[in-house]
Subunit: 351 residues, 2 copies
């Protein structure tokens, strides 16, 4: 669907389903609220899906893969050819995310939304909007039409996944240079100085980090993205992966799909989505706190607290998939546990 | 074995196995160290088990169950009869921990180390040292011999689990009143004021919390436990579950078993273990940050940072079991991923 149309079809959380789910959680023999965020996330999923019964057996991680022209400025540890290599490895099951997803019982769905090189592996979803972005240190990364199209790819994917029965959708990315575009978008949306928004990505040296900060500083001065216009920010310094992920967040709110965020890049995308579509915020599930330095500021702006704080910074959706078993666990509690009504345990009931 | 003997047989981490495991992790195609604590925990397990190959298919959570005489002071939400009910439910698979452990593929092993009531369910490990503690607001909770015996139960369990092939052992507890004994032990070991060490447990009212703090304050004044003598602290204001868990921590260091901590109570037990046996610290794996207020101080003293921060406060070992899938995930990465040597991806290799 077109972005404008999607924005007019955003749902709100179903309060009745949330109340029913909370009521059942509170009737289970355990101290009230004692599973913390696990309970809160299940109640949120009730609101998202407008249901108080759940089946999480079908889970997926959608990995938006795209190249970034700014890589020409030497601000990454790896060369741009790695984007295509890892995208193919995602399709053949040969990345860290894939190994972790097998444990979690989740599908990995790589999406070519803007990889520069030709891809040959089957199993990659072909949604290429452009062959990577332009170098934002010299010109705007994307045209307005490309931004909208990438967002629409994400929105449509949410609808397709919903109709295929996926109950939890993790959101990941692959693209050399995308912590640079994310840092630039975060700096623009949050009005942060580039040095506060920018981190080492996959492991830059101190010298590389200084260069990356300087490139972002000059790009923001060159383009002056409008802080209150997320489409302008994405066009000037964003990426196709970020735009696609923002679309998935909006699509979650349109189609009632629980979207599990990953780390820094996905959080920046979620922030762009919420600026464009404030109602999308309620449909997001945080997973982990990335080691990238601006993650805390972005999550605070979103008002989201992630359950996992393990110093991870791999990307691909690894943080999202790492939290999937927690959903299986709270659902097992929800479905299998006896309630106070079923067992004579008034002594244990909260006052 | 006797406690004194165990303390003389504590291992140290195997640095060679750790180096081999780190070397393989660093050879895998991914940014160096990018799985954060997951990698650190696997390297620690290498040191604990003196091996660089792993099999986590056999996992267990040992739940130390015991009553606390101080419950007579009305400082808990539930009555003491609930300890026995939940202990039996642990054996029949009917608690939140059991539901979560089924997802994680882990065995739940309830241990009666001091439940006051008679238990009838099969599947409970019978290791009763006493029928609960005495009311520490009036007299010392335990005799010195009882403390040593409970610690030895934990040490021996570590050895038995090791010989049965359990590769990861979570540590949980069940005992109405045990956040009170844990708070008293934490206050004594860390020299904290009782109000800083004491929380609401399963959900006390503000009035109940004030009473609990006052009971702990008076007990510490009455008994004056010696801060530098963990056995004295455990005898005066501890519990059989805490002593058993401290023993499991020591046993982990004697038999080379990775012990996954749970929340506040288990962290307090680990602190007591490390005061008695500083070498035990290296054999501990933190899981989650409990919502009990003194958890942060206890973990800081142990120098441990837990990966999961989800506001959980249920106990039983639920925090430990919630992190078990992370071990399966890092092991899948470790075993299944290609290395730089196997694939021509020098471009992606860290500098």
């Amino acid at each position: 669907v077109r972005l404008e149309e999607a924005l007019q079809n955003v749902r709100t959380l179903d309060r009745e389903a949330m109340a029913l789910t909370r009521k059942r959680l509170d009737s289970i023999i355990k101290p009230l609220g004692s599973l913390g965020m696990l309970e809160e996330h299940l109640v949120r999923i009730a609101g998202i899906t407008a249901a108080s019964r759940f089946d999480f057996s079908h889970k997926a991680v959608v990995v938006f893969c795209a190249d970034n022209g700014v890589v020409d400025q030497g601000i990454t540890q790896s060369g741009r050819e790695v984007t295509a290599i890892v995208t193919e490895n995602l399709a053949t099951g040969d990345t860290c995310l894939c190994a972790m997803a097998r444990v979690a019982g989740a599908q990995v769905l790589p999406v070519d939304i803007g990889v520069a090189a030709e891809l040959t592996a089957p199993g990659i979803l072909r949604r290429r909007v452009a062959a990577g972005t332009r170098d934002f240190s010299r010109e705007p990364a994307l045209r307005a039409g490309e931004v909208a199209q990438a967002i629409e790819v994400g929105i449509d994917l949410a609808g397709e996944l919903r109709s295929l029965g996926f109950a939890l959708v993790g959101m990941g990315e692959m693209g050399i240079g995308n912590t640079a575009s994310s840092a630039a978008v975060a700096a623009a949306l949050l009005d942060l100085p580039p040095e506060a928004a920018t981190g080492r990505g996959a492991g830059l040296s101190a010298e590389g980090l200084a260069r990356k900060i300087e490139v972002i500083r000059r790009a923001l001065e060159l383009h002056r993205p409008r802080r209150d216009d997320p489409l302008d920010v994405l066009a000037k310094v964003g990426g196709l992966d970020i735009a696609g992920m923002a679309g998935l967040c909006i699509g979650g709110a349109v189609y009632g799909v629980p979207v599990v965020l990953d780390g820094f890049i996905s959080n920046v995308a979620a922030l762009a989505a919420c600026r464009l579509c404030p109602g999308a915020r309620d449909f997001l599930l945080p997973s982990h706190l990335s080691a990238e330095p601006a993650s805390t500021a972005v999550l605070a702006e979103l008002g989201l607290r992630p359950p996992l704080q393990a110093g991870m910074r791999l990307g691909e959706g690894t943080g999202a998939v790492a939290t999937f078993p927690l959903y299986d666990m709270i659902l097992a509690v929800y479905n299998e546990m006896v309630t106070f009504a079923e067992e004579d345990m008034e002594a244990y009931r909260p006052l």
